[in-house]
Symmetry: C2
Subunit: 361 residues, 2 copies
């Protein structure tokens, strides 16, 4: 068996140690005689798995007691509706930052449920390559919340700061940046993330939400789209995605073993810095993003000669560097280097890029 | 390692062969160098997995081409809202059969989105132990659809026929009976099922829906709750639960190897018949359900002396017969004997029951 370096934007690489443990436990978890995915979600075995996952996440992110942690389904795309359905009712209005493909989707869905003010729009010439300065926006006085996307997975643009929104709750789609560095949860009303980038397998969605924001959904909100349904039932109103929850727990344990989020941040900064230096140090490769807000997680780059894209991808694949094709809306390449991507994977990519340039430059 | 016989109602036992294959492929699917759960859902490897799963399911159930097969998230509980949000609009009214705990939940949610006529109510003295005769109900002329629960997981009540509803589309929550025997899909407007009983792991929901019923949702239906969103995008509008989809495909292949649904039906009938005979042949055990509509999948039973329940469950667990406790709303025991429960598991349970009666009767 040869494992590859998988630069997929999501579903994405998982830590090899986590997969090995899941493999070892696949038919018999801790002598229970059954797989985790066969367990009743209400039995003591799975309850212990679920509780440990939540408490490890709370420890990793220092989540205060007045925040609920929900283990849901439906991805960030479901949150795009659940957020306004649950939270816009207070004033009927919300502020949204428009900084890339995913925030555009969030805005589009929110408009079905209330009035959306786009208070940041960083699009220039059809591209998203920067975010405003920390004082470069205002908060609407009547906004029920401010929504933003700290890391735009497709464009590779990441906020270098947490926006200050005063008393208006800040909501962050952290799908592609959660757990990559420490954050101060108290700065947020709500944080959410699809699992398939930095948490675990697709099909699990994490929601971390301040308790006082729960419980006033719009009329017509389906029971399953009401945060209170899940908050009041420990995410077990109905059967949760148990195997994903278990794998997320293994990832949380792995993160603790790696030194927590401060430890991961140091590694992630090294990986991203090395890759951007390789890109910037060559005329053969380009990254279009303002250096002040380049993503640590998703690094898009183009070749000076786009006709070589296909050959680059083919040769990279041949040496075990997989899923480097950029999103069709941006083109070129994208290296997603989440927590589970080892430093050696980035080093190998950089060496391959230098070699490819030497042959084709 | 000792595998147990797991009688959980869901999440439930999976075929050991399926778990073994998933284990073997966990870090490297077919030489790809990655786990299925690490693959981009849009890459050719996962697309091949997804397409094979769907085509195997279509073959197993003989699903006609004018039905869409959707691989969704959110469980049957999400379908309880999605069904009226997508399908009740034609007339604003729907008929619901009330035959147990799960149909009650479906009714409760549907009432938020339209007018519900409960045209069958089989509750007597607070219990659900039968269903009406095949000619024992009428269909409202202005019903947009008729909804029923062919197998009530908690009460162990199963319809021995498919209700005839004329031109009004019939919708079935098959969560606990799908794939247990052949069905004629053309008798249904829509079939849906949470995966965690007879399909695969929790977090995947199958919807099989006639194309002409898609595309007229109520105003305010979230994008992710609109069947058209998923039907138009091959269930990949957003990231699907890829690992669950893969495991479902392994189960479908296993079913084909077992002789398809006719083969499974023969085994399931043998298992259920043997267990009900053991219960009926003893004054020590009882099952309250009308013999004409006893479930092949979920067999609740009580002891004549309920004070022995705890001892029964403890001794059963000691010999590897797990998760036999009945639902709190019914009490006693429940043996869920889905496709993945081997005949030997039922035989072992019957032997244990006889031995327990001999010692305690």
């Amino acid at each position: 068996m040869t494992r590859v370096y998988n630069f997929s934007a999501g579903p994405a690489a998982l830590p090899e140690e986590v997969l090995q443990q899941a493999q070892a436990e696949m038919l018999d978890w801790h002598g229970s005689g059954m797989s985790v995915m066969e367990m009743s979600h209400r039995g003591k075995e799975f309850m212990s798995i679920a509780e440990k996952a939540e408490s490890d996440l709370r420890e990793l992110m220092a989540i205060p007691a007045n925040y609920k942690v929900l283990f849901l389904q439906g991805g960030a795309s479901s949150q795009f509706a659940m957020i306004p359905m649950n939270l816009i009712g207070r004033t009927g209005k919300a502020d949204y930052f428009r900084t890339g493909s995913w925030s555009k989707k969030a805005i589009s869905e929110a408009k079905h449920f209330g009035e959306v003010a786009v208070t940041v729009n960083s699009e220039h010439d059809g591209k998203f390559t920067s975010v405003p300065q920390a004082d470069g926006f205002s908060v609407s006085a009547d906004a029920a919340y401010v929504h933003y996307t700290p890391n735009e997975t497709i464009e590779g643009v990441e906020f270098p700061y947490v926006p200050s929104t005063g008393d208006v709750p800040l909501i962050a789609d952290m799908s592609s940046t959660i757990l990559s560095r420490p954050v101060d949860v108290t700065q947020f009303g709500m944080i959410y993330a699809g699992a398939q980038k930095n948490i675990g397998p697709a099909g699990l969605t994490l929601v971390i939400v301040r308790e006082d924001l729960i419980g006033t959904p719009l009329d017509g909100t389906p029971t399953m789209f009401n945060y209170a349904t899940h908050a009041d039932n420990g995410s077990m109103y109905n059967t949760p995605p148990t195997f994903g929850w278990y794998l997320a727990g293994l990832v949380f344990q792995w993160l603790k073993d790696k030194g927590g989020l401060a430890g991961m941040a140091a590694i992630n900064e090294r990986k991203a810095t090395a890759l951007y230096q390789a890109i910037d140090g060559s005329d053969f490769y380009q990254n279009p993003v303002d250096p002040a807000c380049r993503s640590w997680m998703n690094v898009p780059f183009t070749l000076a000669n786009a006709e070589l894209d296909g050959e680059f991808l083919k040769q990279a694949s041949d040496v075990g560097l997989k899923t480097l094709k950029g999103h069709r809306s941006v083109g070129g390449m994208r290296a997603s280097i989440y927590n589970a991507m080892p430093e050696q994977g980035v080093t190998t990519l950089i060496e391959f890029m230098a070699e490819f340039e030497r042959k084709n430059g």
